[in-house]
């Protein structure tokens, strides 16, 4: 028996994309190998120790609903949980947790080691084995050739990674970890275009040196919410607070002294960083009139003293960072573990991919995560899942699996990447999703679990839970819609809640649709409803939340659905492979080039390509003739 037989799927890189990809393909039945430089740093949270957030939390829920692992691992490692945007409509509610970074790694490792069909190998891939533009395997630093039907590249920031702290620059993929060289150049030779991006991370602080009394405490939420839909996934760890601190003008002045040695400002760093996540030096320059910037001190682990200083990302010389910190109230005696740094890395123009994340230039080769110009663990995980699923499907000659823009943020993410490309690290925002009212954290299971089940990635437990929930929601909602209440039964409560009385009997659902009234009030008003509700406590909080959202916001949701359905008809018009765009002279020159390069699947996608005009689309439609 050989150690390395031929694999179906090899995943290079054990970050958030790689772990999700490897477990997905293995769980689907593909013989999978995960190659990572350091198996003790599986799914390392290289930047802030948090999962989720606005639009990102929805992605984690989607990964979970499809049978991925990010949600389960996050719940098991969460040391603070918050539902952001609670004052907005339900589509804006976004779960976020602080995770214990050490526990996060441990939990992922546990998942990986318990996934059947999945092998782990610690090594570095130096080159890909490609024959006739089809990937066949990889060659490692140890000189081993390992063969497979498909390969998924999830290199993160490791491809030609170059870090900067002040005037010091050094090669590496993360601090104290070597960069990965060779693969970029090899792929360039195959015609791939790459470019550089820049990101940064802040200083890590020793919590024992912080005067927490001078900071503002930010505790988490105590309620039922979590990331995984599974009943077995629970938030079990002790909860910790975050703390707020503020910079001041003295701090800004000190930081400015360092600008001459700043790689950002002396021209060392040329590549683009994310505008939504600027370094502290960029903030000072761009918003010069702002005398103070907010910082968040986030705990990294229950078992050590490390804190992450959110908002203080910097590549200034370490001593400038340190001096500036000491002038922040609460940090007078601060000790730091390591300074912030900036990192430049290669990414591949994602328009070189199709919607399964397979590359157009080399068959059976998939890219996922930061290599595609994205940022964020959630965005990486979502891509990893889709790449893992499709690598499995491709390895077994099965048809591909993709998500639409009205189905999931993951669908929006991938479509944006492959259609529009990126010009700064791509982060998800709710405003990127035109049908965001449909893409809520409460309904990711309704949207996606059935699809995951049909695929074979979602197990029976999860699917049975979905059906149970759906039946309960339907049953209880019908009760509310069909049961009326008399004025004398509810007017006291209505008045007490500051809403108008009723003069004749009214359906309970109409009462509930008033903004002042919650489902809890209805439980009080109608004891037989309460009896029905409490007859089964299984995932009751989630069920009640869904019912309330359906009834209170049903009108908006239905309206968004109608708009989405009309637009999605454009996605039914498949055009891939039907045209040689270069030969269609009635298209504009730019459209011919863009359509050739991106080779869209559908008219809907073609329309989203910048530079393809409506008249170009007309020409295609007429030529289609249907």
């Amino acid at each position: 028996m050989e150690l390395f037989s031929k694999y179906d799927v090899i995943v290079i890189g054990g970050g958030h994309a790689g772990c999700e990809a490897a477990t997905a393909s293995a769980n689907l039945g593909s013989k999978t190998l995960l190659i990572t430089m350091d198996m003790n740093k599986i799914a390392q949270m290289s930047c802030n120790p948090a999962m989720g957030g606005i639009a990102k939390g929805q992605i984690v829920r989607e990964i979970d609903a499809l049978g991925g692992n990010a949600g389960i691992v996050t719940d098991a490692s969460a040391i603070q949980f918050k539902m952001l945007n609670r004052s907005k409509g339900p589509a804006m509610w976004s779960p976020r947790s602080q995770s214990d970074r050490v526990e996060f790694i441990k939990q992922w490792r546990k998942v990986i080691d318990n996934t059947p069909n999945l092998d782990l190998w610690q090594d570095t891939v130096n080159s890909l084995i490609i024959k006739n533009r089809v990937i066949c395997g990889v060659k490692t630093a140890l000189g081993i050739e390992i063969f497979s039907k498909t390969v998924i590249l999830t290199n993160g920031t490791f491809l030609n990674g170059l870090m900067h702290i002040g005037t010091v620059s050094f090669s590496g993929g993360r601090i104290s970890e070597p960069a990965s060289l060779g693969v970029s150049d090899q792929l360039k030779a195959y015609g791939f275009t790459t470019s550089r991006m820049k990101t940064g991370t802040p200083v890590r602080i020793d919590g024992r040196s912080v005067d927490f009394k001078s900071l503002i405490e930010q505790p988490g939420d105590e309620d039922f919410h979590k990331f995984s839909y599974l009943e077995s996934s629970k938030r079990i760890l002790e909860q910790r607070s975050c703390y707020m601190a503020y910079t001041n003008e003295v701090v800004h002045n000190i930081l400015e002294w360092g600008f001459k040695d700043s790689p950002m400002y002396n021209g060392t760093i040329q590549s683009l960083g994310p505008r939504y996540c600027p370094s502290i030096e960029t903030k000072i320059v761009t918003f010069a009139d702002k005398v103070s910037h907010q910082l968040f001190l986030e705990p990294e682990s229950l078992d050590n003293n490390e804190y992450y200083l959110n908002g203080f990302s910097s590549s200034l010389p370490w001593n400038i960072q340190y001096e500036a910190l000491r002038n922040i109230s609460g940090f007078e005696n601060v000790k730091i573990y390591r300074p912030g740094y900036a990192i430049e890395y290669d990414y591949f123009d994602p328009t070189q991919l199709i919607n399964t994340l397979e590359t157009k230039l080399v068959s059976n080769l998939f890219f996922a995560g930061q290599i595609n110009g994205t940022t964020g663990y959630e965005e990486a995980g979502g891509q990893g899942l889709i790449a893992g699923i499709n690598a499995h499907l491709k390895a077994h000659s099965m048809s591909s699996f993709t998500l639409n823009r009205d189905e999931a943020y993951i669908g929006v993410l991938i479509d944006d990447l492959i259609t529009k490309g990126v010009d700064e690290p791509y982060r998800m925002f709710t405003s990127r999703a035109e049908y965001r009212i449909l893409l809520r954290q409460d309904n990711a299971d309704t949207r996606l679990t059935k699809r995951g089940y049909d695929l074979g990635l979602v197990n029976n437990v999860r699917f049975e839970l979905l059906n149970f929930k759906a039946h309960r929601i339907e049953y209880l909602t019908n009760y509310l819609r069909n049961t009326s209440i008399l004025p004398d039964k509810c007017n006291n409560l209505l008045l007490a809640k500051g809403t108008t009385e009723i003069s004749q009997k009214v359906k309970l659902s109409d009462i509930l649709s008033r903004p002042q009234i919650s489902l809890i009030d209805i439980l009080e008003l109608d004891s037989s409803f309460a009896e029905l509700v409490y007859s089964d406590n299984r995932v009751l909080d989630e069920i009640l939340e869904s019912i309330e959202i359906d009834i209170k916001y049903g009108g908006y949701i239905e309206r968004e659905r109608i708009v989405a359905d009309k637009m999605m008809r454009l996605e039914d018009l498949k055009i891939k492979g039907r045209f040689v765009y270069a030969d269609i002279l009635s298209l504009s020159t730019e459209a011919r080039q863009k359509l050739t390069a991106i080779n869209p699947d559908t008219i809907g996608q073609a329309r989203r390509i910048s530079g393809v005009s409506p008249s170009d689309i007309n020409v295609l439609l007429v030529l289609l003739g249907r």
Binding site: Q294, S431, P515, I562, S586, I617
Partner: protein
């Protein structure tokens, strides 16, 4: 929370995204092709005045939509009951008002030109009537067809053979390119600045709302509702003034409607002929020679006028003539300019009374008083009478002899002045495209919902739905709104990134 929206808001330009396209014609064209479930309508006979005109309605709702504004003369013979290939007589109704008597041909899918349910309305041929019926159909839920769209549908429904496909492609290409050029020319010409302003206001309000949603955790100040209301109100104001300019724009394009009104035999048709400098209208000394409205267009001082001769106003027992007179009254209601013609030889109080009556019927029109047959009095008498009428009625007055071409030049320059069209300079933004107009009306509805949402304190995510609708429609006129642009505004103006 109140659900403040109507399904009808998203029926017309429905299959369009707000973030891709920038010009209306090809834009709408595109979505139509995508969405054959729309019901479309258009004037099939070219839109010029003629004895009769035909309007065509095609699509799944063709019969339902037409039925909403049609009353068959035999009550049971509703369009819905008709088999394909039947013709029904009846009236086009705008509520309780009779618009015209028409013949409607019903074609059932797939046995029609387009292959869809189709209605053809044969109406009387005045441009006004055609437009009026078209507007009614639009109001009932049809969408204006694009150039070649009926042919397009016929093709897509397999009613044309494939060898014709290329011809169709050429047709479409040509028409959208031409309209593209025209629109671009317009954009560059006068009103790009104003549109940019409107566009920027939209980006701003959108960015301020999205800021609350995507960056609620950031240390930035969120716009209060008063500021948002301010911006929304400014947008509404601009959208409204644009859509109102459609009336002017349309007039400039299709001709400013000028109605010639007055007693029978006062010389209205002679005046029309004098203006047209040809024997257009039938002229005789017999009262009531003109039994229906006659119209024609003429360009004076670079401005297009559409002259509408009318049957004289008098009480008559002649049924046909009475119908014409009734129509005159309704014509007066929609004219931009009414020429009140009276004989200068009549007693002054009679002249005043008759002109006053015409003025009363001419709702919003500018009235010009014309004293005809000036050749029959001395110049001094003419001058004296003109002055008195001017004073008593506070109207521009001109004395003419239509028969001898006296005073026609003066009348012409007066018309140019009264039309106000000469004031529409290069820098005035005028909407003359009906599709732009439709888009503006819908954008206006959406921004109204934004304003009521802001007043009701609805959260930003729901207000943003209407903002998106508004952007979607305005995008056709002001250029599209991209997410990139909105995020760009946020990153530029707010310190994001904790």
């Amino acid at each position: 929370m109140e659900l403040n929206w109507k399904l009808s808001d998203i029926t017309v330009f429905d299959s369009i995204v707000f973030c891709c396209f920038y010009l209306s014609n090809s834009f709408v064209y595109f979505c139509t092709m995508m969405n054959q479930r729309d019901t479309i309508c258009a004037i099939a006979t070219g839109g010029q005045a003629g004895a009769i005109a035909v309007l065509r309605v095609s699509g799944p709702e063709a019969i339902t939509i037409t039925s909403k504004c049609f009353r068959p003369s035999v009550q049971t013979k509703t369009l819905a009951n008709c088999k394909g290939g039947t013709v029904v007589f009846g009236r086009i109704m705008d509520g309780s008002e009779i618009v015209d008597e028409v013949l409607i041909s019903v074609f059932r899918a797939p046995r029609s030109f387009t292959g869809e349910e189709t209605i053809e309305i044969a109406c009387h041929g005045s441009v006004y009537l055609q437009q009026r019926i078209l507007e009614l159909l639009l109001k009932m839920g049809a969408r204006l067809a694009l150039p070649g769209e009926f042919t397009q549908r016929a093709f897509l429904n397999g009613k044309m053979d494939l060898s014709q496909a290329e011809a169709v492609a050429d047709l479409i290409g040509a028409s959208s390119k031409a309209s593209h050029r025209i629109a671009m020319h317009q954009m560059r010409g006068g009103f790009a600045g104003e549109l940019t302003l409107l566009h920027d206001e939209m980006v701003k309000i959108s960015a301020l709302l999205e800021l609350e949603l995507d960056f609620s955790e950031e240390d930035v100040e969120f716009a209060d509702r008063t500021l948002l209301l301010d911006i929304a109100t400014r947008i509404r104001h601009k959208v409204q003034s644009l859509s109102q300019s459609f009336k002017v724009g349309n007039a400039i394009k299709n001709g400013i409607p000028v109605v010639i009104a007055g007693e029978t035999n006062v010389g209205k048709s002679t005046l029309l002929n004098a203006l047209l400098k040809e024997e257009r209208a039938l002229v005789s000394d017999i009262h009531g020679t003109t039994r229906d409205t006659v119209e024609d267009t003429i360009t004076l001082g670079g401005i297009h006028f559409r002259f509408i001769d009318t049957a004289g106003l008098r009480n008559t027992v002649d049924v046909v003539e009475q119908m014409g007179i009734d129509r005159t009254r309704s014509k007066l209601g929609m004219a931009e300019i009414a020429l009140a013609v009276a004989e200068i030889t009549l007693p002054l109080e009679v002249i005043l009374a008759k002109v006053q009556e015409i003025k009363n019927h001419s709702a919003e029109a500018s009235v010009v008083c014309i004293l005809n047959k000036a050749d029959k009095l001395s110049d001094d008498d003419v001058q004296a009478r003109v002055e008195i009428v001017k004073q008593k009625l506070d109207l521009p007055v001109v004395a003419i002899s239509a028969k001898f071409f006296i005073g026609i030049d003066e009348l012409e320059s007066l018309l140019v002045k009264v039309s106000g069209a000469a004031d529409v300079g290069e820098n005035t933004l005028v909407v003359s495209n009906l599709r732009h107009y439709e888009a503006l009306v819908k954008a206006g509805d959406a921004i109204d919902r934004v304003i009521s949402g802001l007043n009701q304190g609805i959260t930003a995510d729901f207000i943003a739905m209407d903002i998106r609708q508004c952007q979607h429609y305005l995008g056709e006129i002001t250029g599209t709104f991209t997410n990139h642009e909105i995020l760009g505004y946020i990153f530029k103006n707010f310190c994001i990134g904790k």
